[in-house]
Amino acid sequence: MDVNQYLEIFLDETKEHLESLNAQILNLEQTPDDADTINEIFRAAHSLKGMAGTMGYKRMQALTHDMENVFSEIRNGSIKVNSNMIDTLFQCLDALEEYTNNIQASADEGTNDNQALINQLNEYLNGGGAQEAPLKAAEKEAAPADAEAAKWKEISFGEHEKHVFSEAKKEGKQVYGMDIRVQETCILKAARAFLVYKAVEEKAEIVVCNPSAQDIEDEKFDLEFSLIVISENPLDQIIAAAKNVSEIESVTGGVVDIDTSEAAAAETEAEVEAEETRPAAVAAQTTGAPAKQAEKKSGKPVVNRTVRVDIEKLDVLMNLVSELIIAKNSLVSASSTEIGAGSGVNEHIEYLESVTTNLHESVMKVRMVPIESVVNKFPRMIRDLSKKLNKKMELYMSGEETELDRTVVDEIGDPLMHLLRNSADHGLESAEVRAQRGKPAVGSIFLDAYQDGNNVVIEVRDDGNGIDVEAVKAKAIERGVITPEQGDSMSEKDIINLLFHAGFSTAKQISDVSGRGVGLDVVKSKIESLSGDVEVKSKLGEGSTWIIRLPLTLAIIQALMVIVGGEKYAISLGSIQTIEDISPSDIKLVQNSEVIHLRGTVIPIIRLNKELDIESSKSPDENMVVVIVKKGEKLAGLVVDELIGQQEIVIKSLGKYISKCKIISGATILGDGEVALILDANALI
């Protein structure tokens, strides 16, 4: 048992607190007098401080401590919220986030003291006057618990402890008893207790623990537990350390009078208990240190990626698994009863099929998380941008609860941020232009997410200038992306799509918001790597809309199974346009490459057997099966030997060991246990 065990909880909670702080501070700026908001902020900051402290992250603790002071002054009404202060507080949150990221990567908070921020915070405080008052008030709240009988006094000691106590006395140390009470709402009592244990251990030596450390670890205690400790530190320091742990309701204590407890007679039971406790504590100390070192060495993040799952979703899964077992059992019994064999089996197989399909869907749902976690940081970003660009703007979001696969949600943040920045910087006009055009002074940016069939659509919309097609064309010609002749023959849509071309930026001035020529092409490639696509609709003078379309899940696709030279391959149905039966005589040569002329379009032909280095099993004069696939506007015909049919397949990675092969995007396991490779039509075109 060591602190690392709680690292995950710590990181999770810290992130939650930071998120809520971000949201609440934004709120605070809008409604500076709202008591609920400030209380919420105060609570979050206080928990953060306590958690950082117990985990031993001193810098993080120091920074949150000063933030908390500012919040408590605001709560008391002795300082007023102003925009500068909000800026500083946001910077503090950024700094805290940095600490958190460091901790996640290496279990260490890093070395940045953020002294400048702390100084700034203290300036606000000094401007506001009285400082220490609120903290004391908080302590007073906890005090009444004293009224209850001190539980630690009930602990009796054996010979061994008495000996230890008298030794300690000789060394000038004191023996204290403490009662710790955790809040009733606390979920992880054992973890909290351990953190208290750990915090106290730093200040003192724990001799007796009631109930035993083992019981506490197993959560075999009510809300209270007692400790007998030996320390040279004053009692209030130890109590303060214990109180720093969040969700602890109260900590009380006093000096143990050894003589009286001696009189209380030695009960053997207590002795046994104490014997158990001590080795456990020692073991915790010794194992803690090397584990931490080992983790520091490896460069990997110390915490695994997790998904928080709604218990209901797990219940559904559980039910399906039990149904699966029933289905299996009925199959077994059907196969063992000879009579009527054949008729019953089909029925059972159908049942089994419906169970597996449902199971499938439910597991996918477990992987789904709302995009909330990503989009929640955007209001804050727009606020910062608004200041930086000196434009008034407001972000309106809808559909934050829309769910996407966890892997997609993790990746979608950056592209969305790019698009929002783009809208803020290039899209929205300056205040003067807006006034001239008769638009409201405050620009609006919309972020809407919704589900559309098997896709999730995220739209970023602004009521700004829209895309100036002529300007884009001129720029593209100037950059040499297209020739003037090409420009004349291109449709408006094609020209707008040039924005996604690498190295293209229409911003006249390079600002640090956007306009470095990386951006839209990165957005496009990122979204394409997630098997999605992005398009733009724009009207000059009225605004533009960026539409991102993403598949609900990445792990399962509908695919067409084909045979090439005796091997089975899968092609994603999403990229297939049509399937044609072509006679070899229809193939024409254009610039030495094979094409077919199909309903008015010329389509290049790719012979898959050549791409896959295998002999085709068909003779050259037979009719060919050509699968027409598309990538964007481009089409290509893939020549295959045979079609098997459509199938739902689960995508498995080939692993990094075989990653060189570009045209294979993964593998899948077929019904007979064989592995089939998935062809990446995009890479072939």
Binding site: Y657, I658, A667, E674, V675
Partner: protein, 158 residues
Amino acid sequence: MEQLKVAEMNEINEVMNETIQYIVIKLGDEQYGIDIKYIDNIVRMQHITRVPKVANYLKGVINLRGEVIPVMSIRLKMDLPADEITKSTRIIILKLEQHGTIGIIVDEVKEVVTLSTAEIEKVAYDGQEGKINFINGIGKHNDELISLLDLNVVAMEK
């Protein structure tokens, strides 16, 4: 002085007595040992799905209880004659920190031996140019020699 020596001797003995278990496999006529801690599984030869456009020693992928695992021919990797698939051919599934899970094809799996460090002779790199040394030691067991494979070298991409 005397005491110090005894302590030193004990320490040396301790090092000497450290034992490692190896699985002995056959490639052609030679016996090789694979450290058992890297072995995840040993499975019978099964259909391997070819992956196009990869190095010749990568034979393809197999399905191991729902996971897709790459399989390589250690013979081709070591420039030995190609595998002859017989009844005793096995695929050994290795779990390596650096390279993940990989299967290697061996002619036969013989036995498990326990070698103490005293029975292992380190081989120095022989310095022949252009030749990769796949072996990091030779073990002696019952008058037989077992070449101990350096799995990280075996798995390394050429």
